[in-house]
Symmetry: none
Subunit: 409 residues, 2 copies
């Protein structure tokens, strides 16, 4: 059979629990969703424990699982994936941190953890002044991320990610990075030296002089946290013998995909927020199927509504997601293997991720339909795909696409 | 979300197979069970392979799995859990045995393996005479258990549980404990010495002199069997960051719970037999939810009826269990996450545990209901929770209770 294209649509935080103000239905059950239900009717459904039963996934670990990797093997902390989200993909062994531009007083007490929510172009100019640094033979790279955020990457011999956060997470004196294992002493020293240098280089920087004149808090220090080593991940194309691309608005998701070796394609209007242009994302994903074998798209909006605990808003977002599914239904190339799923549940009552299983639907030509024609948490629990793990999904799609290797003869 | 309480109700040996005298229904299907069905209707159901498909669990391994531990990793034999059942919780590395008080003749041939089913207060006095012994630097502790049973605990350097049973299990000459590995030679020597000493100390003990006068067989020796080393189990509270208690009538279940670090609460009328006061147990469990985050209750009666092969009796027991479920339904604190399950099937036709999956039901506020409203083996097999493993259940309950940790960001 001719190999087919694969499209995975991750509706971030879609799954939920029974919600009182929705008369004990879930937002998905409450939403008008003719297109998702069309796919359910013509495809097969099930539920997935993204990591394992009852395990609350992060958006990072969940996407690793959806890409077929075992998060317990490859997840090394948030730092490297955030760094990759900014485009800074390190090599195996590099240590990366998330950072905040912050405001400290002369006693190194944090006055504002976000330096007045400073953003570009100020951060761009500040980052420039920190570039090209090297401590004890360790190369230091700093890159700005969204708003007051940045990432720090260390490259050199004898590094370890077992160092504690400099960011005190509250408005107190900054911490010294501590080595949490003997092998991390050098790394802790480099980090502390970098933090000190960042203060010296930033405190009287022209950007900060201007901010002071404008009554804004100066971004006079960088506070690293969440150290992680760049993992040894087998690149997607080598692992699955197919090319892959990603469309996402959220930096962390982009980072995960980049570390796995997917091409991250920027789409105008894709924000990672409630205002994201879902139609533009779906159209971009469909266009990418012309040139790529595999496309993953992530739409964050349902998760955002859930974190706000707004059930009615979540229902409205899901109805927009359904319209997006309508575009996929009408425009996707013939023969495409498409999966709709969530990366985790974000129940309204929790306002955060939960370990509940998420609804899965797979559709392609030649699919053996199950008895379920409704895409929602309760119906999919009775679906013909049964209860699977997150990392099982991609192998199933690859096989439906005629791209799997035979094990044995 | 506010963390919720968790109640796990283990209906021991509940699951069964189709029974001819019940017109090929299971006892559970045959029983009137409005309350269990109410929970099924308002919650979600599934089936569990407590250990794995087709694996016949013991009550010990099954409860380890229900407490979320991997029995293949932590189960080290029955001895230590029986010892803990009597309240004798050893330290990691201690070796424990189950023992019988038995009657032997002067040639060490067993005349009565249970010494006329001797019980307290006779056993209490006999155990006293064996206390405070030490052999080769190994401290020896003996504690009485129910009826003719006792437990033996060895504490010291260089011990191993790889020793064979002294109890010949038939009325023949007692065995010498044999080292089953080189490192067990010392332990075998200590055990054999202890058995010899027990004979010397017991044979003319006043209790046995009296028993002889009364025409009863003297309990003139202790016969150890089932050696096991106390396992290195991460305590429940440390593992799950919640406090836990157990209500059970059976010593072995108490032992499992004690070794895992749960507080075992004695309830008047809880016997572990057919005469147990289920209502008292349920009320005690509900009261415990005031102070503990997690309560496990075990009711043994259905298992007892099954071991007797009495289908009608099992139906009646299940109807009492349903009344108990009614009390839980009406009295449990609002928001409690409750699970009903069996620790294994004990089919009438087998009169012993089987490896059949057991029916599971989970109920809490906000639960996405499945399409099944009946709590029985066949209906739960179509339930929305699918087919899970025993050790998956607790993580699911912990997540529903808002007590799970996020893996990733």
């Amino acid at each position: 059979m001719q190999p087919r294209k694969i499209l995975v649509v991750v509706m971030d935080g879609l799954g939920d629990r029974a919600v009182k103000e929705l008369h004990w239905k879930t937002p998905l059950q409450s939403a008008n969703r003719p297109n998702l239900n069309w796919f359910a009717e013509h495809g097969a459904t099930g539920i997935i424990d993204i990591i394992g039963p009852g395990v609350r996934p992060g958006s990072d670990t969940s996407h690793l699982a959806i890409l077929g990797y075992d998060p317990y093997q490859v997840y090394t902390g948030r730092g490297p994936f955030e760094a990759a989200g900014t485009g800074l993909v390190g090599e195996r062994g590099d240590v990366a941190f998330r950072c905040n531009f912050a405001t400290v007083d002369q006693n190194m007490v944090v006055v504002d953890r976000r330096a007045g929510r400073i953003k570009e172009p100020d951060t761009t100019m500040l980052v420039e002044s920190l570039s090209g640094m090297s401590v004890d033979g360790v190369e230091i790279v700093v890159k700005e991320a969204t708003e007051h955020r940045a990432v720090l990457l260390l490259r050199g011999k004898g590094l370890s990610a077992k160092v504690s956060d400099v960011d005190p997470h509250t408005e107190t004196k900054i911490h010294e990075a501590q080595a949490l294992e003997h092998e991390a002493k050098k790394t802790a020293k480099v980090v502390n030296h970098f933090v000190q240098r960042s203060y010296e280089l930033l405190k009287d920087h022209p950007v900060n002089q201007r901010r002071r004149r404008e009554g804004k808090p100066p971004a006079n220090i960088l506070l690293p946290r969440g150290a992680g080593v760049f993992p040894d991940i087998q690149p997607f194309e080598e692992r699955y013998r197919m090319t892959g691309a990603c469309v996402a608005g959220v930096s962390l998701i982009k980072g995960i995909c980049r570390v796995c070796g997917l091409d991250v394609i920027e789409v105008e209007g894709a924000t990672g927020g409630l205002d994201t242009d879902m139609v533009a994302k779906a159209k971009a994903a469909i266009r990418l199927l012309d040139t790529y074998d595999f496309v993953l798209m992530n739409v964050k909006a349902a998760d955002v509504a859930s974190h706000d605990g707004d059930a009615d808003l979540k229902v409205k977002v899901i109805e927009r997601l359904d319209e997006m599914a309508g575009i996929i239904r009408s425009d996707m190339p013939e023969g495409t293997v498409v999966a709709f799923l969530a990366d985790h549940c974000t129940p309204i009552e929790v306002k955060d991720h939960s370990g509940d299983p998420v609804p899965l639907l797979i559709y392609c030509q030649g699919m053996v339909r199950d008895a379920n024609a409704s895409y929602d948490e309760a119906s999919c629990a009775h679906g013909g795909l049964g209860r699977l793990r997150g990392k099982d999904v991609l192998p199933i799609l690859i096989d439906k696409a005629g791209r799997s290797e035979k094990f044995g003869a």
